[in-house]
């Protein structure tokens, strides 16, 4: 359950803050797009404050890029992940699964999309091999948790969870 990564070795590297520079460049682009949108606004109450914030963001981003590029790379110790190397595909799949079920939610409804997400993430978070008993038990638990939450939110808290257009038209 720990998020820490076991490391076997440590190496010394000289690094420039490339990630920071890329993020700063991205902030400048976002700022420019937003600034352009403020030029379409007519009421000063709508654009004065955002323009101030955008200017601040762009100036700070520019300072970060200049200072990062002008400074020599700093020596850093970098951990070389051992056996428990973090899995990037699982990270991407987690976000993709959640985005996918969110897009499907208005179509197939909350219960089905929620159950689909639960089972997909269950498979994604399982590193050890499955056996039939474990699989059956976990699926029962999944149905119970999704059903429990659906019941609690729909009937106790009266939240109108999406039913799905697919089922409404049937």
């Amino acid at each position: 359950m720990s998020t820490s990564v076991s490391s076997e070795k440590v190496k010394l590297t000289t690094k420039r803050d490339i990630g920071g520079i890329v993020c700063a460049a991205l902030f400048i682009l976002i700022g420019a797009a937003c600034f352009y949108e403020t030029t379409q606004m007519t009421d000063p109450d709508s654009y004065v404050f955002p323009r101030m914030v955008i200017s601040g963001l762009m100036i700070l981003s520019f300072i970060l890029i200049v200072t990062s590029l002008s400074k020599p790379g700093t020596a850093e110790t970098e951990e070389i992940p051992g056996k428990n190397r973090p899995s990037t595909p699982r990270r991407v799949l987690l976000v993709a699964t959640l985005l996918g079920v969110t897009l499907l939610m208005p179509i197939i409804g909350f219960v089905l999309s929620g159950l689909g997400a639960f089972i997909a993430l269950m498979l994604l978070a399982q590193y050890e091999p499955w056996n039939k008993t474990k699989m059956a038990l976990y699926i029962i638990v999944s149905v119970a948790i999704v059903g429990g939450f659906y019941g609690a939110f729909s009937y106790l808290l009266h939240v109108p969870l999406p039913e799905g257009v697919l089922f409404q038209s049937l």
Partner: protein, 501 residues
């Protein structure tokens, strides 16, 4: 005052306080899940409750989660929450020598003491501060919002420029959707998803919970082994040790309270500062790091004291003291409460009943915390990751949706979560973004109103810089901005002195 105490003592509030403490302790005890996450995923449950009960439950979840982090810190050498980092220094060595049970009881007592001291300061400090804050005009609110942002940028991990950039990005996110003053639709780029703006609580769920899930799923569950055999509560022994180090407990609790009051500085900073002070003040500091009970007491009392301390700026000014306070603040906005100094007069019953509720929840933590530590902890940590990850993920989906019954909010929550994970990897902490998002409307309203007043009176400079309170806050902003430089220089000088010696 007594009537508020009785209001807090209703069976519903007592039940919610107990349920909140238990839920918070359980979530906080799981390594990888933070106190902020505990509050964020459970916040939707409170939306249909009366506002006082909701606040009591959220406060109880928060206080329980901070304490829950101590279990894993002591028994697994892995802080359950970041605020328990310093608990590992002496808690784990205690567990290794067979005193894990004693360390847990000491942590529980220290957490209760810290929580009570924090709540006491909240009760004593917040009302007079609210009276001072009543004198604030629009320009003061604008400068105050900027002060909160600079302070969090200075205190958060990473460098000051990145913190400030995060704050600006948060302010920009807050301006998406309908403009606070004019009502114009801004920065939606033609998308209907963003037309309703960015809902604060669902954004907070994304910014704080999704990165945790992304990291949780990326590595296989490590084999967690509890160190040391537990023999019992050892309550008498723990009480005797606590009495002996009453000054340590008091000092650490006061440190925790005041660190909590600083916007953005949460339990982890409080714990580390209090630990260092306890070691500095100890007669024999060599024991620290090798299982000194004082180390566990200092950290645990300080991190729980941040709960009450953090509520001071949250309730008085609407500026969250700690990240979980940001989530609670967002929840209060969903309840339709306008947070600020006026609340102490107009909604006094809610505020004072909540403070008494927080005190009750802290007291309930003693039996609940001891029982969970003794009997339930082993079962909690053996929850398989294959069930933990989808459960938490499912709670984020249903939580983000249920605030405005909007799928768009879920979508925005996920996108912000992914973005937060990426930015965090490159040194952009989520806290400044969150603070910008929360303070956005306060800052914009203050700025636009001051601008309008200044333009009408033809004294723009005087409106922003002419009032004594404004000037004091501006001076504090300057101090906040230069703090990292000053502290770096002091550290460098200290290092040079040590090398010379």
């Amino acid at each position: 005052m007594l009537e508020y105490l009785f209001d807090a003592l209703t069976p519903l509030n007592l039940l919610l306080a107990l349920a909140g403490v238990v839920a918070g302790t359980v979530i906080g005890s799981l390594p990888g899940l933070t106190a902020t996450m505990a509050v964020a995923v459970l916040v939707p449950i409170t939306f249909t409750m009366p506002v006082t009960s909701a606040l009591i439950m959220l406060g109880a979840i928060y206080t329980g989660a901070i304490y829950g982090g101590a279990y894993a810190a002591i028994l697994l050498n892995t802080p359950g929450t970041p605020s328990a980092i310093a608990t590992t220094f002496d808690g784990y060595p205690m567990a290794k020598r067979g005193d894990g049970d004693l360390a847990i009881t000491l942590a529980c007592i220290a957490s209760v003491v810290g929580g009570l001291v924090g709540a006491f300061f909240l009760l004593v400090l917040a009302p007079p501060l609210a009276k001072v804050a009543l004198a604030f005009g629009p320009s003061e609110y604008f400068w105050l919002a900027l002060f909160g942002l600079t302070l969090i940028a200075a205190l958060s991990t990473g460098n000051l420029i990145k913190g400030l950039m995060g704050g600006c990005f948060g302010l920009l996110l807050a301006s998406v959707g309908s403009a606070a003053v004019s009502g114009d639709i801004r920065f939606t780029f033609g998308s209907t998803t963003m037309i309703g703006g960015i809902e604060t609580v669902s954004a907070l769920i994304g910014l704080y919970c999704i990165p945790v899930l992304i990291d949780l799923v990326a590595v296989s569950g490590q084999h967690l082994t509890i160190t040391g055999e537990q023999r019992g509560y050892r309550l008498k022994e723990a009480l005797a040790i606590s009495w002996k180090s009453k000054f340590n407990l008091a000092r650490s609790s006061v440190i925790g309270t005041f660190v909590g009051i600083l916007p953005g500085a949460g339990g982890s900073i409080a714990g580390l500062v209090a630990y260092n002070e306890a070691r500095r003040a100890a007669r024999d500091s060599s024991k620290f790091g090798h299982g000194a009970p004082e180390g566990v007491q200092a950290t645990e009392s300080a991190n729980n004291a941040t709960v009450g301390g953090g509520f001071v700026p949250t309730l008085v000014l609407g500026i969250p003291g700690t990240p979980p306070d940001a989530v609670i603040l967002g929840a209060l906005l969903v309840h339709g409460l306008r947070i600020g100094p006026d609340m102490f007069n107009s909604e006094g019953s809610i505020v004072y009943t909540f403070i008494f509720g927080l005190i009750i929840a802290t007291l309930l933590m003693l039996p609940a915390g001891l029982i969970i530590g003794r009997y339930a902890y082993k079962s909690i940590i053996t929850v398989p990751k294959a069930l933990l990850v989808p459960t938490v993920a499912f709670m984020t989906l249903i939580g983000a949706y249920s605030i405005r019954n909007s799928v768009s909010d879920v979508f925005i929550m996920l996108v912000l979560g992914g973005l937060s994970w990426i930015l965090n990897r490159f040194g952009f902490s989520p806290s400044p973004i969150v603070l910008g998002l929360i303070l956005g409307s306060i800052a914009e309203e203050g700025f636009v109103q001051s601008w309008t007043i200044g333009a009408a009176t033809e004294n723009l400079f005087g409106t922003f810089f002419g009032r004594p309170i404004s000037m004091t806050i501006i001076a504090m902003i300057a101090m906040g901005m230069f703090y990292p430089l000053i502290s770096k220089r002091i550290q460098l000088k200290r290092l040079q002195k040590e090398t010379m010696e």
